[in-house]
């Protein structure tokens, strides 16, 4: 598929999803700054092009495992903003009843399986999920998202090796945002393209511009088809950039310059897709503003709902341990 041939409906759908991710996370940031978020909060603003581009390339029944930075993944798979915000606030109405928080979003009924907040560990689990899909003769694949920090873990190596020897339908997507908290990827590995790691496992590895959602979509779609058809794992690296700190409280960000952040902001996935939409006359600027206002309303209502929602009962604490 070429860039040009992406249908307008698809572009619109990608745009709406990115917009919802962005505004959801802006609402979460506001809630954090207002003191409503009890724990930590890792925002993926800047990653949406990669996340939505990949998820839009999936078919019905395909599964996703995310990371500690996965509000966008969950939302794009169909979790409601009410469920996400409630979970972040530790409310009973959260996707996990408030017992898991931002680090462990999960809703298997919409195929958003789990968020692995231990960096890299989602890959071996994804191998097992993919093995089960193949064993159960389901024509689906599983996508495991990880960050660049994951590529130097043992789990990354063991998981990809297992995936390659058992021929399972697993797509591993590295959201390379250049920093594992503060340590730049260039200090963490000598390899320039993280997708080169695929060579060690005899599998396909591809590096993609993850800031441009349509670039992600056109490149990942054939890889998703390949994984499904060949029952063979593939490693994709999406080059992205995290516009905010590692977590919402990381404001000083001594490890990078403001100029660097500003430079990347020029390649904001939201801007890039808006430009494309205007260029193709899919929507007018006014229509986009109306859509944004609607999404803002949606997220405001969701935040309001979550703020008013009840906390879990003390007896809930003891449920579902065994």
């Amino acid at each position: 598929m070429s860039f040009i041939s992406i249908p307008n409906d698809k572009i619109k759908s990608i745009y709406e999803k990115i917009l919802r991710c962005r505004i959801l996370e802006e609402s979460l940031l506001k809630a954090y700054r207002d003191g409503y978020v009890p724990g930590t909060l890792h925002l993926g603003i800047g990653h949406e092009g990669c996340v939505v581009g990949v998820i839009e390339a999936l078919e019905r029944g395909d599964l996703v495992i995310g990371t500690h930075r996965s509000h966008c993944h969950a939302l794009s798979m169909g979790m409601t903003p009410e469920e996400i915000i409630s979970e972040v606030l530790g409310k009973k109405t959260g996707c996990c009843g408030g017992k898991a928080g931002t680090l462990h979003l999960s809703k298997p009924s919409i195929n958003y399986l789990y968020s692995s907040s231990i960096v890299g560990s989602g890959i071996p689990i994804g191998v097992g999920v993919a093995y089960a899909l193949k064993y159960l003769k389901r024509d689906n694949i599983v996508v495991v998202f990880v960050g660049d920090g994951a590529v130097n873990t043992g789990a990354f190596h063991e998981g990809l090796n297992l995936a390659s020897i058992y021929d399972v339908p697993l797509l591993v997507v590295i959201e390379n945002n250049w920093y594992a908290i503060s340590v730049p990827i260039r200090k963490a590995t000598r390899i320039e393209k993280l997708s080169l790691r695929a060579n060690s496992y005899g599998i396909k590895g591809v590096t993609i511009d993850g800031m441009d959602p349509l670039e992600v979509y056109v490149n990942v779609k054939p890889l998703v088809d390949y994984v499904r058809r060949e029952k063979e794992p593939v490693l994709v690296e999406c080059i992205v950039y995290r516009f905010l700190g590692h977590h919402a409280g990381d404001v000083t960000q001594e490890y990078r310059s403001k100029e660097e952040v500003e430079l990347w902001r020029k390649r904001d996935p939201l801007l890039l897709i808006e430009e494309e939409i205007l260029k193709r006359n899919i929507m007018s600027r006014e229509e986009m503003e109306v859509l944004k206002a609607n999404v803002r309303d949606e997220m405001e209502r969701a935040l309001d709902y979550a703020l008013k929602a009840p906390y879990p009962e003390v007896e809930d604490m003891f449920k579902n341990v065994w």
Binding site: C96, K99, H104, G126, V129, N161, N320
Partner: protein, 328 residues
């Protein structure tokens, strides 16, 4: 005519696996060398030929990887049974066991569960040195969400493993490698042994001796010798470490008021510490208590040293005699 059938501990475990695999196609085995080779202890011998490579999966040396893989299979509804050759290799997979296997049900509020069993061993005194001999059971007892089983005989091994596979709970199943070739009565017809029930294997009024897995035999032998000297020991085989059958323990200690725990793991924060604390917390009168365990040092390799390191009948006897004289 009642048919008595005597088979080995290893055969009993193999039968459990075969029966559960025949019964349920979602039961899948994975681990190092478990395929054509039949496992280093030969427990899975013949299963590869019988069930094929998609259900008896030889893995590379990747405990973190294949335990994680089993978790992924389990959350999809399969029932993986993983063989981890030495318990000393569990730490390689500890991240997956502690952070995922034990917690996914809780964090997802029951949307996902992890019906899987890790079969591993208790393997001491083989002159293999400190990292091929550790009984790490207490480390995992500390983690909420894990079921922990350690059978002492072929009958329990078969019945408990079958129950574990059907329990739909994340389970660590510790097999006594020194007992693999020991034989015992196992009925030819199907049966289950309930998880979480200890067994009184010898009744007595003077003192309660708690044992599990490899410590059951020396404890029972000690009790028989002590009986000749007039000390009547009640011997309990815990069988399941988590959930621990406190009722059986408490009823026994209430009667005897003296308690010795014989454990293959180290004493600090170990099984004995847990058993005594549980008794005291419930207001039980315990006149005297002691642990028999290896000292809190790594297991040495030399045969000249390891015999002093391990728990044995003589250590149980001398400890019981001391405890019988002792009073707070």
């Amino acid at each position: 005519m009642i048919m008595v059938r005597i088979i080995s501990y290893a055969e009993a475990i193999r039968e459990a696996l075969i029966e559960e695999m025949e019964r349920d196609e979602s039961v899948i085995l994975l681990g190092e060398d478990i395929g054509v080779f039949g496992g280093v202890y030969k427990v899975t011998k013949g299963l590869y030929e019988r069930f094929g490579s998609s259900r008896v999966i030889d893995t590379p040396i990747s405990e973190d990887g294949f335990v994680g893989m089993a978790i992924g299979m389990a959350i999809m509804g399969l029932k993986p049974v993983v063989e981890v050759m030495y318990p000393d290799f569990l730490p390689n997979a500890a991240n997956q066991i502690i952070n995922f296997m034990a917690k996914i049900k809780y964090t997802t509020n029951d949307a996902l569960s992890v019906p899987m069993v890790i079969r591993t061993t208790i393997i001491q005194g083989r002159c293999s040195g400190p990292d091929h001999s550790q009984v790490l059971i207490p480390i995992f007892m500390h983690i909420p969400g894990l079921q922990i089983i350690a059978p002492s005989n072929p009958y329990d091994a078969k019945g408990l493993l079958k129950s574990a596979i059907r329990s739909h709970k994340p389970t660590l199943f510790f097999e006594a490698a020194s007992l693999y070739s020991t034989r015992g009565e196992v009925p030819p017809t199907e049966y289950l042994v309930p998880i979480g029930e200890a067994k009184i294997i010898k009744s007595g009024e003077d003192i309660t001796l708690i044992s599990f897995s490899t410590t059951v035999k020396p404890t029972l032998e000690a009790a028989e010798e002590l009986e000749k000297e007039g000390i009547k020991c009640e011997v309990v085989d815990l069988r399941t470490l988590v959930p621990m059958d406190l009722n059986t323990i408490i009823n026994s200690v209430r009667k005897t008021k003296r308690l010795v725990v014989v454990e293959s793991s180290w004493p600090i924060c170990g099984v004995g510490a847990e058993v005594l604390t549980s008794c005291l917390e419930r207001g039980l009168e315990v006149k005297a208590f002691a642990r028999v365990s290896p000292p809190h040092i790594p297991e040495p390799m030399s045969p000249a040293l390891v015999k002093h390191y391990l728990v044995n009948k003589e250590k149980v006897i001398s400890t019981v005699k001391k405890v019988m004289k002792f009073e707070y």
